[in-house]
């Protein structure tokens, strides 16, 4: 194996962090993994921008402009980019809004839903990233090298995938580990 540790970045776009939680679920195997890799940008390190990396793991699809910027930053910096989990792979549950009109959704949530404060408005702060009309899986925006489906992929699937990849093998999951749910 390489004489230096592989540099790995991870992020969650339009995801729920479930895939990251499942990643942490590899439990004590994290210690074995840390012998082989070090983390760049990731919720684990709190580094805010991605530097040059060997591997990028992206959870979630893209639902807003910021997601697209982060995804492009990952693609620019990571030699191998992986779609981690159902939402990154096909948009997942957030994409179930795709047949609805965005203005109607925002109006329903922020203006007409029962129980809202009087005069409630759709948030429009310049700091908020603009939502996209539809949620898209990340391979529709940048080139993706590997896909690891699952909602979330199980810790065992993530472990198998990473150990295959780190050992230089094409990741192979097989029955029980490959899951779309």
């Amino acid at each position: 194996m390489a004489d230096r540790k592989l540099r790995v970045a991870t992020t969650s776009l339009a995801g729920c962090f479930g895939c990251h939680m499942s990643f942490l679920d590899i439990d004590e195997r994290l210690l074995d993994l840390l012998e082989l890799v070090e983390f760049d940008r990731s919720p684990i390190t709190d580094i805010k921008h991605c530097g040059p990396c060997d591997l990028g793991l992206v959870e979630g699809g893209v639902c807003n402009a910021e997601n697209v910027h982060v995804l492009r930053e990952f693609r620019k910096n990571c030699k191998i980019l992986v779609a981690l989990g159902a939402c990154a792979v096909n948009g997942g549950l957030p994409a179930q809004r795709n047949h609805l009109d965005l203005r109607d959704i925002l109006a329903a949530v922020y203006e007409t839903e029962g129980g809202l404060a009087r005069g409630a408005r759709i948030p429009n702060d310049p700091e908020l990233p603009l939502p996209l009309n539809q949620v898209h899986p990340i391979h529709e925006v940048v080139k993706i090298d590997y896909f690891l489906p699952g909602c979330p992929p199980s810790a065992d699937a993530i472990w198998k995938f990473l150990t295959d990849l780190i050992a230089g093998r094409t990741p192979h999951l097989g029955h029980g580990l490959i899951h779309y749910d």
Binding site: A86, N90, H99, E140, F147, L148, I178, Y180, D181
Partner: protein, 243 residues
């Protein structure tokens, strides 16, 4: 056990006996050999539309559900070349509909999903259509979620040929093809469809779903959690209890 009096063909190098008149998929299934398929079902006339069962018989591509087995025929089935093509067909089916498995009651019992696992489909590859296909929940006992329809016409065949009710049909052409319900309103509640119909249990994916039984079996215990579809030859069609 091979009946020595029967003629045989070779599927992936293995001798498979057949009764004259049997199609390749019928002979293979009887011999416990898996040929991937979606629109074929042992109880119904072959439909030949999904093309997932495409094999190479004596060097020519063809649907195993429509090719008659012949003595000495050499058939390629689970080759890399054919499974690659099957994967592409499956990917097209996934992006043409809305397949969000985590929220689908059929997940774990779904033939489309299990077949995609079998051929190692890791991504949908193509751009998604995200079509708008409203759900018909009008019937008291059954729900129709058209988002997942793969237009295999199994429900059409079951309702017409077994139930004698003719409730379902395909309408439109090409990318506009879709399943319709035979009532003036187009709604399932205005037909004589019942949860006991054969058509109510034949859908290989999560379109025709019985109400109040969803997610009854936990993850880990569902049909294809237990073993892959290739290890359940002859039992692919979910039974009423499993569906």
């Amino acid at each position: 056990m091979t009946d020595n009096t029967l003629p045989t063909c070779l599927i992936d190098g293995e001798e498979v006996p057949f009764t004259p008149g049997q199609t390749l998929i019928q002979a293979a299934t009887a011999a416990g050999k898996y040929i991937p398929h979606l629109c074929w079902h042992p109880d119904f006339a072959a439909h030949g539309s999904c093309k997932i069962c495409t094999v190479k018989a004596d060097g020519r591509f063809g649907a195993a559900c429509t090719i008659e087995a012949r003595a000495g025929m050499t058939v390629e089935n689970r080759t890399t070349e054919l499974d690659d093509k099957r994967r592409t067909l499956l990917q097209l089916l996934f992006v043409e509909g809305n397949h969000f498995c985590p929220s689908c009651e059929k997940s774990g019992n779904c033939l489309l999903q299990a077949t995609a696992y079998e051929v190692g489909m890791m991504s949908p590859h193509f751009d998604h259509f995200y079509p708008d296909r409203p759900v018909d929940a009008s019937h008291p006992d059954v729900l129709l979620d058209f988002n997942r329809c793969i237009m295999c016409e199994l429900c059409v065949r079951a309702s017409r040929d077994v139930d004698g009710k003719n409730i379902f049909a395909l309408s439109g052409r090409g990318i506009k093809s879709h399943l319709i319900v035979n009532s003036e309103s187009g709604r399932i509640k205005d037909t004589d469809f019942s949860a006991g119909d054969r058509a109510a249990e034949v859908c290989p994916v999560g379109v025709i779903l019985k109400k109040r039984v969803g997610f009854a079996v936990p993850i880990g215990g569902r049909k294809y959690d237990v073993s892959p579809v290739s290890a359940q030859v002859g039992a692919q069609a979910p039974t009423r209890e499993e569906a």
